[in-house]
Amino acid sequence: MPDINLEVNGKPVRAAVEANTLLVDLLRKQLALTGTHVGCDTAQCGACVVHVDGNSVKACNVFAVQVDGARITTIEGLGTGAELHAVQAAFKEAHGLQCGFCTPGMVMAAADLLAKNPSPTEAEIRSWLKGNICRCTGYHNIVKAVETAAQMLKQAKAA
């Protein structure tokens, strides 16, 4: 299998993979980016959501070879250094996480929603996040966090 070349969180990466290496395994095992989590084996829980060329994708459901040449952003690539991205800051403000396991995928999914729909309604947020299962929060504060993040992003844009 020839090596693949991609960009991960702004850095060029060259990796040797098998044909059946999942993107999530490339990230977690070869690149030591363990923020992207595996929570199921049927591509439903969303704990593994990353961005591929700006769109949210379940990394457990994509082969590494399929993203040869793509631009990948993982949770580690959101925000810079100790600074939190608006979505991350909103989740902290709203207590939108408890055990934290679903959180990276949830945050990445929410960031994609807000990039595409800057003023989502409560129903649109809940519908968009159907692909991300949380067992801890009951979704109440997650939805609140996304609404808060939408406000924060709009204010930052206006400024």
């Binding site: 977690r28 989590h37 929570g39 049927t42 959180t103 996040l129």
Partner: protein, 794 residues
Amino acid sequence: MSSTSSGIGAAVKRREDFRFLKGIGKYTDDISVPGQTYMYLLRSPVAHARIEKLDTTAAKAVPGVVAVFTQADIDASGPVGGLPCGWLVTSRDGSPMKEPKHPILASGKVRHVGDPVVAVIAETLQQAKDAAELVTVDYAELPPVIDMKAALTGKVAVHDEAPDNLCFDWELGDKAATDAAFAKAAHVTKLDLVNNRLVPNAMEPRAAVGVYEVGTGDYTLYTTSQNPHVIRLLMGAFVLGIPEHKLRVYAPDVGGGFGSKIYHYAEEALVTWASKQVGRPVKWTAERTESFLSDAHGRDHVTHAEMAFDKDGKAIGLRVDTLANMGGYLSTFAPCIPTWLHGTLLAGQYTTPAIYCNVKAVFTNTVPVDAYRGAGRPEATYLLERLMSKAAGELGLDQAEIRRRNFIQPNQFPYQTPVAVVYDTGDYGASLDKAMDLADYKGFPARRAAAKAKGKLRGIGVASYIEACGIAPSSLVGALGARAGLYEAATIRVNPTGSVSVLTGSHSHGQGHETTFAQVVADKLGIGIDQVDIVHGDTAKVPFGMGTYGSRSIAVGGTAIVNALDKVIEKGRKIAAHLLEAAESDIVFENGAYQVKGTDRKKTFGEVALVAYVPHKYPIDKIEPGLEETAFYDPKNFTFPAGTYICEVEIDPRTGAVEIASFTAADDFGNVINPMIVEGQVHGGLAQGIGQALLEQAVYDENGQLKTGSYMDYCMPRADDVPYFKVTTTTTTCTHNPLGVKGCGEAGAIGAPPAVINAIVDALAEYGVTHIDMPATPEKIWRSINGGMRKAAE
């Protein structure tokens, strides 16, 4: 108590959030150890069979395979025990429960689909999986024992020790008094209920890494556990024979537990034992389907319950007959869930004077069943609150009114229930009032009429729950069969520069203890919250603990911390008295400083701390240097959070689809350390309770195959299944711990299911529906509307 912006009662944002939001938490599968091998478990594909032949030769020859182990290999390596059960329940005839051995790997027989048979260890996970496919096992299948009633009367035994599959036959209460009450009842309400089997499904699958150091003989086990010290004790002393001082158990960041990560599982013992056998670290991570087949399931009760009323709608008697599924083996706490955590809650918030409960625990060829959020209390609350609302309908009373007539009054506390427990304090009318207000209960008839005009059916359901948490006084639970004490431990280590390390036996896997415990310490010591570090999860750092479950962390763990703080403050007083040249009795500790009464002469906590470690001017003849104190706190009683939930549903009769139009929760948790975190716990519990009521069920077919073995078929609550919740609190402070706290982690899962079902039954009353089983799927609802339930061929 000082109320600063980061003290007790403040909605402090969580410190743990930074690493979780950044994706730099350390969950067990994130941990890799140099030289590690990977373990894959071959599990039984059948529910019940003798293992006739087991051949691992071909598997051992696969490139990359380091070892292939069966139970025979484990037994040959030295004395190894089975996975222990931590609670001995006694049957009503005085005999102890049946306690069959639970081997680490299946031995002689497999007893459920998913029962682990062979452990393959290889350089890569893929090699281990490939090798597992080459293991040949000849299973001589036996008839599967699935239905509990059939298990008790059939001829097939899951365990030879229990020929009728009866694990125990337990009772609680006064049968004669209860029968007498029923004999003179003006009205009897009856109900047959199923409390549906659930799979906890924490989002992080279980994982374990075992590391044996050849040079020192030390073992380290990284594991997804809610209670690392308990695992160290159980596995070290009763399973692998490893001295505790040579065994470190570290539960790092854990992605949710809900009870499923309390137990000592085979995989923990396997990676630990195997790492010594192969001389290399061994890592195992569950796949989700594997979790469905190996994590302890929850609930699974079949109950017949009856409530006797007088002519004024006051309950005078309750009798409960329950079959409780244990599964194929006894899990660590399984026997106490349907007994001491279920029977003792049958008074609810009510003055029912005569109660009798019989529970038969049954072995079946299914995954073992044990505590899952609520553990026994959801089962008790469900039957009680369904009976109350059903009786209301039969007696022509409003759901809130019938409860109000039966409430224990505030002036009746402490209240001795007929089912052993004594409630310390409560005000049930207050939470009912607050819930009704927040839910706009009075406005419901108008909303129902408006919905009807649009072709929809609205219903409202009330559930007034009580629960027992903060488990528990050791002598009490010991008398009831517990094999462990249930105290909690805390060490307050004051550092020379005045910062504080708190070593707590509690474990946080989402509850936010790193923040809330720090609030308590900062508040009590009058220091900045950033000066307090909460350490948990690692037996190498924390002396001891019993762990987190049963909503016990703030009541029991928090009190241990407060008691240790009191010792620290006391020692500091002696030091301060010496420094200030005053009598100890003249020293007051307030706002982070020791002050001489009536003067402005004082020493800060930080100054005293430094002196303790640099004891130049020091009462060295009276006390030692240093400032570190430990407390073990054994609680005096359970705590009894209580409240009322009101659920309003809107049903589309054409499809049976249910929408939760609103859900209101009024809880009394005593004092609250961080209201933001407490609300979050309620939200999460409500979603799980709503999931049980509407969506979730672990379903076995007649062959013992788990039909709901992945998220394709097991319906988890998602963001669009629940609304924003309306959450509020009332407060009666706990009378027997210094913080006055009761705990809050499980209430939502306990009170929500009956609130939802009561609402659905209310919505469907015009069709003559008086009950519907959980999960109340659209199909069940549609069938109820269209001529009643016709069960599929059994």
